[in-house]
Symmetry: C2
Subunit: 135 residues, 2 copies
Protein backbone atom coordinates (compact mmCIF):
# COMPACT_ATOMS: atom_id res chain seq x y z
CA UNK A 1 0.00 0.00 0.00
CA UNK A 2 1.16 3.51 -0.82
CA UNK A 3 1.11 5.78 2.23
CA UNK A 4 2.14 9.17 0.84
CA UNK A 5 4.57 11.09 -1.30
CA UNK A 6 7.73 10.69 0.77
CA UNK A 7 9.69 13.24 -1.26
CA UNK A 8 10.29 14.86 -4.57
CA UNK A 9 13.90 15.10 -5.71
CA UNK A 10 15.33 18.05 -7.60
CA UNK A 11 18.83 17.76 -9.10
CA UNK A 12 20.90 20.90 -8.61
CA UNK A 13 24.50 21.85 -9.41
CA UNK A 14 25.07 23.76 -6.15
CA UNK A 15 23.30 23.51 -2.80
CA UNK A 16 23.97 27.02 -1.53
CA UNK A 17 22.50 28.84 -4.50
CA UNK A 18 19.55 26.43 -4.59
CA UNK A 19 18.85 26.95 -0.89
CA UNK A 20 18.75 30.69 -1.49
CA UNK A 21 15.57 30.04 -3.50
CA UNK A 22 13.88 27.08 -1.79
CA UNK A 23 14.72 28.07 1.80
CA UNK A 24 15.42 31.81 1.84
CA UNK A 25 12.93 32.97 -0.80
CA UNK A 26 10.11 30.41 -0.62
CA UNK A 27 10.48 29.96 3.13
CA UNK A 28 10.90 26.17 3.39
CA UNK A 29 12.88 24.91 6.39
CA UNK A 30 16.16 23.05 5.92
CA UNK A 31 16.45 20.30 8.53
CA UNK A 32 19.80 18.82 7.49
CA UNK A 33 22.05 17.75 4.67
CA UNK A 34 23.34 14.21 4.27
CA UNK A 35 25.88 12.56 2.02
CA UNK A 36 24.19 9.53 0.46
CA UNK A 37 27.14 7.46 -0.73
CA UNK A 38 25.03 4.84 -2.49
CA UNK A 39 23.58 7.60 -4.65
CA UNK A 40 26.85 9.55 -5.04
CA UNK A 41 25.24 12.77 -3.87
CA UNK A 42 24.71 15.26 -1.06
CA UNK A 43 21.05 15.79 -0.25
CA UNK A 44 19.40 18.77 1.46
CA UNK A 45 16.10 17.93 3.16
CA UNK A 46 13.29 20.49 3.31
CA UNK A 47 10.13 18.97 4.82
CA UNK A 48 6.70 20.43 4.07
CA UNK A 49 3.40 18.86 5.14
CA UNK A 50 4.04 15.11 5.37
CA UNK A 51 6.51 15.11 2.47
CA UNK A 52 9.95 16.55 1.75
CA UNK A 53 11.53 18.56 -1.00
CA UNK A 54 15.02 17.13 -1.54
CA UNK A 55 17.75 19.05 -3.32
CA UNK A 56 20.27 16.56 -4.70
CA UNK A 57 23.77 17.63 -5.66
CA UNK A 58 25.79 14.92 -7.43
CA UNK A 59 29.26 14.32 -5.95
CA UNK A 60 30.64 12.26 -8.83
CA UNK A 61 30.21 12.43 -12.58
CA UNK A 62 29.07 8.84 -12.98
CA UNK A 63 25.75 8.63 -11.15
CA UNK A 64 22.36 8.79 -12.80
CA UNK A 65 21.78 12.17 -11.15
CA UNK A 66 25.10 13.53 -12.52
CA UNK A 67 24.27 12.36 -16.03
CA UNK A 68 20.78 13.88 -15.76
CA UNK A 69 22.35 17.21 -14.72
CA UNK A 70 24.94 17.16 -17.49
CA UNK A 71 22.37 16.31 -20.14
CA UNK A 72 19.30 18.31 -19.10
CA UNK A 73 20.43 20.81 -16.50
CA UNK A 74 18.82 21.14 -13.07
CA UNK A 75 15.24 20.00 -12.62
CA UNK A 76 12.74 17.54 -11.18
CA UNK A 77 14.35 14.11 -11.14
CA UNK A 78 11.99 11.71 -9.39
CA UNK A 79 9.10 11.32 -6.99
CA UNK A 80 9.28 8.90 -4.10
CA UNK A 81 6.14 7.10 -2.98
CA UNK A 82 6.33 5.63 0.50
CA UNK A 83 5.05 2.07 0.78
CA UNK A 84 4.42 -0.04 3.86
CA UNK A 85 5.88 -3.21 2.34
CA UNK A 86 8.45 -2.76 -0.44
CA UNK A 87 9.02 -6.48 -1.02
CA UNK A 88 5.31 -7.10 -1.49
CA UNK A 89 5.01 -4.12 -3.86
CA UNK A 90 7.98 -5.26 -5.97
CA UNK A 91 6.52 -8.75 -6.25
CA UNK A 92 3.19 -7.27 -7.38
CA UNK A 93 4.85 -5.02 -9.97
CA UNK A 94 6.88 -7.90 -11.39
CA UNK A 95 3.72 -9.99 -11.73
CA UNK A 96 2.11 -7.15 -13.68
CA UNK A 97 5.09 -6.81 -16.01
CA UNK A 98 6.22 -3.38 -14.77
CA UNK A 99 9.81 -2.58 -15.79
CA UNK A 100 11.96 -2.06 -12.70
CA UNK A 101 15.38 -0.40 -12.44
CA UNK A 102 15.97 -2.19 -9.12
CA UNK A 103 14.53 -5.67 -8.94
CA UNK A 104 15.71 -5.85 -5.33
CA UNK A 105 15.81 -2.95 -2.85
CA UNK A 106 18.84 -0.66 -2.50
CA UNK A 107 19.87 1.45 0.49
CA UNK A 108 18.62 5.05 0.33
CA UNK A 109 19.08 8.13 2.53
CA UNK A 110 18.80 7.47 6.25
CA UNK A 111 19.38 3.75 5.71
CA UNK A 112 15.87 3.30 4.33
CA UNK A 113 15.12 0.80 1.54
CA UNK A 114 14.16 1.88 -1.96
CA UNK A 115 13.68 0.64 -5.52
CA UNK A 116 13.11 2.58 -8.72
CA UNK A 117 10.47 1.89 -11.37
CA UNK A 118 11.63 2.58 -14.93
CA UNK A 119 9.98 5.71 -16.44
CA UNK A 120 8.92 3.59 -19.41
CA UNK A 121 6.33 1.91 -17.17
CA UNK A 122 5.23 5.12 -15.40
CA UNK A 123 4.28 7.74 -18.01
CA UNK A 124 7.83 9.00 -18.32
CA UNK A 125 8.13 9.57 -14.55
CA UNK A 126 11.04 8.15 -12.56
CA UNK A 127 9.23 6.71 -9.50
CA UNK A 128 11.08 5.63 -6.38
CA UNK A 129 9.31 3.24 -4.03
CA UNK A 130 10.48 3.97 -0.52
CA UNK A 131 10.16 2.03 2.71
CA UNK A 132 11.21 3.71 5.93
CA UNK A 133 12.77 1.81 8.81
CA UNK A 134 9.73 2.64 10.94
CA UNK A 135 7.65 0.73 8.33
Amino acid sequence: MIKKINHIAIIVPDLDSSLSFWRDTLGLTLTHTEEVKGQESIVAFLPTGDSEVELVKPTTETSGAARFLAKRGPGLHHIALEVDDLDEMLMRLKEKGVRLINETPVVAAGGNRAAFIHPESANGVLVELYETKAG
Copy 2:
Protein backbone atom coordinates in the same frame (compact mmCIF):
# COMPACT_ATOMS: atom_id res chain seq x y z
CA MET B 1 3.93 30.31 4.36
CA ILE B 2 4.11 27.01 2.51
CA LYS B 3 1.85 24.38 4.05
CA LYS B 4 2.56 21.26 2.00
CA ILE B 5 2.95 19.77 -1.45
CA ASN B 6 -0.62 20.12 -2.72
CA HIS B 7 0.00 17.96 -5.79
CA ILE B 8 2.41 16.80 -8.41
CA ALA B 9 1.18 16.94 -12.00
CA ILE B 10 2.04 14.34 -14.62
CA ILE B 11 1.15 15.03 -18.25
CA VAL B 12 -0.28 11.98 -20.04
CA PRO B 13 -1.72 11.36 -23.50
CA ASP B 14 -4.55 9.12 -22.29
CA LEU B 15 -6.20 8.84 -18.87
CA ASP B 16 -7.41 5.24 -19.10
CA SER B 17 -4.04 3.72 -19.88
CA SER B 18 -2.36 5.93 -17.27
CA LEU B 19 -4.88 4.91 -14.61
CA SER B 20 -4.10 1.29 -15.35
CA PHE B 21 -0.64 1.98 -13.88
CA TRP B 22 -1.20 4.60 -11.15
CA ARG B 23 -4.50 3.21 -9.86
CA ASP B 24 -4.72 -0.45 -10.86
CA THR B 25 -1.07 -1.43 -10.55
CA LEU B 26 0.32 0.91 -7.86
CA GLY B 27 -2.93 0.92 -5.92
CA LEU B 28 -3.63 4.65 -5.64
CA THR B 29 -7.29 5.66 -5.32
CA LEU B 30 -8.97 7.78 -7.99
CA THR B 31 -11.42 10.18 -6.36
CA HIS B 32 -12.66 11.99 -9.47
CA THR B 33 -11.79 13.53 -12.79
CA GLU B 34 -12.47 17.18 -13.62
CA GLU B 35 -12.29 19.25 -16.77
CA VAL B 36 -10.22 22.34 -15.96
CA LYS B 37 -11.16 24.70 -18.76
CA GLY B 38 -8.66 27.39 -17.78
CA GLN B 39 -5.89 24.83 -18.22
CA GLU B 40 -7.40 23.15 -21.31
CA SER B 41 -7.19 19.72 -19.73
CA ILE B 42 -8.97 16.89 -17.97
CA VAL B 43 -7.40 16.03 -14.64
CA ALA B 44 -7.59 12.75 -12.67
CA PHE B 45 -7.05 13.17 -8.92
CA LEU B 46 -5.35 10.45 -6.90
CA PRO B 47 -4.77 11.55 -3.30
CA THR B 48 -2.04 9.99 -1.16
CA GLY B 49 -1.04 11.23 2.29
CA ASP B 50 -1.86 14.93 2.39
CA SER B 51 -0.98 15.45 -1.30
CA GLU B 52 -2.35 14.33 -4.64
CA VAL B 53 -0.95 12.78 -7.78
CA GLU B 54 -2.69 14.48 -10.70
CA LEU B 55 -2.77 12.97 -14.17
CA VAL B 56 -3.32 15.76 -16.69
CA LYS B 57 -4.56 15.03 -20.19
CA PRO B 58 -4.52 18.06 -22.51
CA THR B 59 -7.79 18.69 -24.35
CA THR B 60 -6.43 21.17 -26.90
CA GLU B 61 -3.16 21.43 -28.78
CA THR B 62 -2.38 24.97 -27.66
CA SER B 63 -1.89 24.75 -23.89
CA GLY B 64 1.48 24.58 -22.17
CA ALA B 65 0.68 21.00 -21.16
CA ALA B 66 -0.10 20.03 -24.77
CA ARG B 67 3.13 21.56 -26.02
CA PHE B 68 5.08 19.79 -23.26
CA LEU B 69 3.52 16.47 -24.30
CA ALA B 70 4.19 17.03 -28.01
CA LYS B 71 7.79 18.03 -27.40
CA ARG B 72 8.91 15.74 -24.58
CA GLY B 73 6.31 13.02 -24.25
CA PRO B 74 4.55 12.18 -20.99
CA GLY B 75 6.25 13.02 -17.71
CA LEU B 76 6.43 15.12 -14.56
CA HIS B 77 5.22 18.61 -15.41
CA HIS B 78 5.06 20.62 -12.20
CA ILE B 79 4.85 20.53 -8.43
CA ALA B 80 2.27 22.59 -6.59
CA LEU B 81 3.11 24.03 -3.19
CA GLU B 82 0.12 25.06 -1.11
CA VAL B 83 0.43 28.48 0.50
CA ASP B 84 -1.80 30.15 3.08
CA ASP B 85 -1.65 33.57 1.40
CA LEU B 86 -0.93 33.62 -2.33
CA ASP B 87 -1.03 37.42 -2.67
CA GLU B 88 1.53 37.88 0.10
CA MET B 89 3.79 35.19 -1.41
CA LEU B 90 3.64 36.75 -4.88
CA MET B 91 4.52 40.16 -3.44
CA ARG B 92 7.50 38.64 -1.63
CA LEU B 93 8.73 36.81 -4.74
CA LYS B 94 8.48 39.98 -6.85
CA GLU B 95 10.50 41.89 -4.27
CA LYS B 96 13.20 39.23 -4.46
CA GLY B 97 13.31 39.36 -8.26
CA VAL B 98 11.86 35.89 -8.86
CA ARG B 99 10.61 35.45 -12.43
CA LEU B 100 6.87 34.66 -12.42
CA ILE B 101 4.73 33.22 -15.20
CA ASN B 102 1.61 34.61 -13.51
CA GLU B 103 2.10 37.95 -11.81
CA THR B 104 -1.48 37.76 -10.63
CA PRO B 105 -3.37 34.57 -9.63
CA VAL B 106 -5.30 32.46 -12.15
CA VAL B 107 -8.18 30.06 -11.48
CA ALA B 108 -7.08 26.44 -11.01
CA ALA B 109 -8.94 23.15 -10.48
CA GLY B 110 -11.80 23.33 -7.99
CA GLY B 111 -11.94 27.11 -8.30
CA ASN B 112 -8.77 27.50 -6.24
CA ARG B 113 -6.24 30.27 -6.97
CA ALA B 114 -2.80 29.58 -8.38
CA ALA B 115 0.25 31.22 -9.92
CA PHE B 116 3.30 29.66 -11.58
CA ILE B 117 6.94 30.51 -10.92
CA HIS B 118 9.16 30.34 -14.01
CA PRO B 119 11.54 27.33 -13.97
CA GLU B 120 14.42 29.72 -14.58
CA SER B 121 14.06 30.95 -11.00
CA ALA B 122 13.49 27.49 -9.48
CA ASN B 123 16.32 25.15 -10.57
CA GLY B 124 14.52 24.17 -13.75
CA VAL B 125 11.36 23.15 -11.87
CA LEU B 126 7.95 24.49 -12.84
CA VAL B 127 6.48 25.43 -9.43
CA GLU B 128 2.81 26.22 -8.96
CA LEU B 129 1.83 28.18 -5.87
CA TYR B 130 -1.63 27.09 -4.84
CA GLU B 131 -4.15 28.60 -2.45
CA THR B 132 -7.27 26.61 -1.61
CA LYS B 133 -10.62 28.23 -0.94
CA ALA B 134 -10.49 26.95 2.62
CA GLY B 135 -7.31 29.04 3.09
